[in-house]
Subunit: 326 residues, 2 copies
């Protein structure tokens, strides 16, 4: 194994280019005798003279002439890689892999990425919008760097970086009785036929538990897989549905209204998680900061009851204020 220093190659290149030890030493910010030693070391390492030199002239030997372009290219490549490595290190480049709940992916996440890209434009993203259980699995397997998941996180393989809650809303047509009262209670909701997303999502888990708690059994009209389907069914008058307030689908229908449910059980835990035992890259922790800031700005205000339609489209790029930091 050849123990070589990049400095020695730089020294060789510098002497070859300047044709003088003295000038090369100046360029390298080195004393000239030190350069002599470096070149000699390199020559001994390689096993041949690289320069024919005397007090008046320095010239490449045959071996040096053949080696110069090769070593120069290797040095250049290596320096490029190290440069890239530094960029990776300080977070100014790299790829951030994120698994994310669909509701978050379609609401807060795009703004986070936009905001993030303003300060670190070199970072690219790989987003996977999947249900909570898959998010957890992807983070566990280190297939992603960060995960936005729903439900309680009690997996020791997962570290919670940001915890929050997502306010669940009841979605009903404008003019529906539920659109009127100041506070919507669980008891009010179960009076109407319900459309609920299929089992497996964290929202459905929350709703089922709350219903079981209250020992009520609502009429289930339908159990679609996608939230957008649920919205369409409500629009068609098949009943009302319960969705995360952060979900973009909630605001997609002009004739529907979303109202927060005044019941502590109807909040869904949301967490930004990473794999336990794995550190975050600079870029990743910068992203965590961005998400925290984005959510920190969020004020749980009337936007829950905001009417859907042109107004909401105007503000479509602003974060949806359903998620609250804990």
């Amino acid at each position: 194994m050849i123990d070589l220093n990049l400095r020695e190659i730089r020294a060789f290149v510098a002497v070859a280019q300047t044709g003088s030890f003295t000038r090369a030493a100046t360029r390298l910010h080195l004393s000239q005798p030190a350069l002599t030693v470096q070149i000699r070391r390199l020559e001994e390492l390689i096993g041949t003279r690289l320069f024919d030199r005397n007090s008046r002239s320095v010239a490449l030997t045959a071996a040096g002439r053949e080696l110069l372009p090769l070593l120069q290219k290797s040095l250049y490549d290596m320096e490029n890689v190290l440069h890239d490595a530094r960029a990776l290190g300080d977070g100014s480049s790299g790829k951030l892999r994120i698994a994310c709940l669909p509701s978050f992916a379609s609401s807060v996440l795009p703004d986070c990425i936009r905001s993030f890209a303003r300060t670190l434009p070199g970072v690219t993203f790989e987003i996977r919008d999947v249900v909570a259980s898959v998010v957890n699995q992807l983070v566990r397997n280190e297939d992603v760097d960060l995960g936005v998941t729903g439900g309680e996180v009690d997996d020791p393989a997962l570290d919670v970086l940001i915890a929050g809650t997502d306010q669940l809303c009841v979605v009903c047509p404008r003019g529906h009785p539920l659109a009127k009262p100041r506070k919507v209670k669980l008891a009010d909701i179960v009076r109407y036929p319900l459309v609920l997303t299929a089992a497996g999502t964290s929202v459905r888990a929350v709703v089922d538990r709350a219903l079981a708690d209250a020992d009520v059994e609502p009429t289930l009209t339908c159990e679609p897989t996608y939230m957008m389907t649920a919205v369409a069914m409500v629009r068609a008058g098949l009943g009302v549905t319960v969705l995360p307030g952060s979900a973009r689908e909630v605001h997609a229908e002009p004739h529907l209204v979303a109202r927060p449910i005044d019941d502590a059980r109807f909040t869904r835990p949301i967490a930004l998680v990473k794999r336990h035992g794995r550190s975050l890259s600079k870029a990743a922790s910068a992203f965590v900061d961005v998400v925290a800031r984005q959510l920190g700005q969020a004020t749980p205000d009337r936007s829950h009851t905001s009417r859907i339609g042109r107004e909401s489209h105007k503000t479509a790029l602003r974060p949806i204020k359903s998620i609250r930091l804990e």
Copy 2:
């Protein structure tokens, strides 16, 4: 400027590949704490963690994962270049550029190359067969590593490595009066019409000086540029010619005889030269040795008078014994 050691990259690769500091240290013949320090140095240099590690597991970080293939490739390339460099250094590869008199190029040189290639097959050759003055100029300009030149060498820019003489021969038809006598003298030759190669060659210079010395003026039938032309003219009966005994053309005509001239002035100095102040590569000095050995074997014997024809073709690959070491 990043001051990096190849050892540190090897350490990174080894740990990444083995997934363990201990195993990597063993592979690198290093104590494990030393490895820890090396990795830490590299991490500080790059500015980011490369491994997430605790007492039970070692895993690449995101940055490490992206960097590993890049650094591995750079390391691989660099090691290849260094390997090639060593091969260049010990003479087992490289290109040898030689400028050479045509007579030498067609006689002794091919055997030297063949003999050389047996021990150092990795070395390639670039041969230029040119007249003496051009040989000298090419060596002076460092366009070639070695030169085989004719005539006295008094250029301070040229170092003589091997000095020898080339016996000049008179070439005449079999049965010609000059083919008979035991010793051929200058006076014998000038009785016949002469074919002499054109001015500029070292042979012509030698002959001209000898003739001037003796104050004789021969009949010049023709002054061809190429020795082969001279031989053809002698074959056609236009006269006799004087050629270096080493020239292959001398033996190309079955009906001609070459006889050494018994006159000290009819020897042409031959020298293997290099550029003054430039060292020889390992391969080059090995080649000088081969040439010396080849010429050392040469015995200035009856081969001068050897009849031309099938016999000479049989021995065509053996060195032509006209050149004598000094």
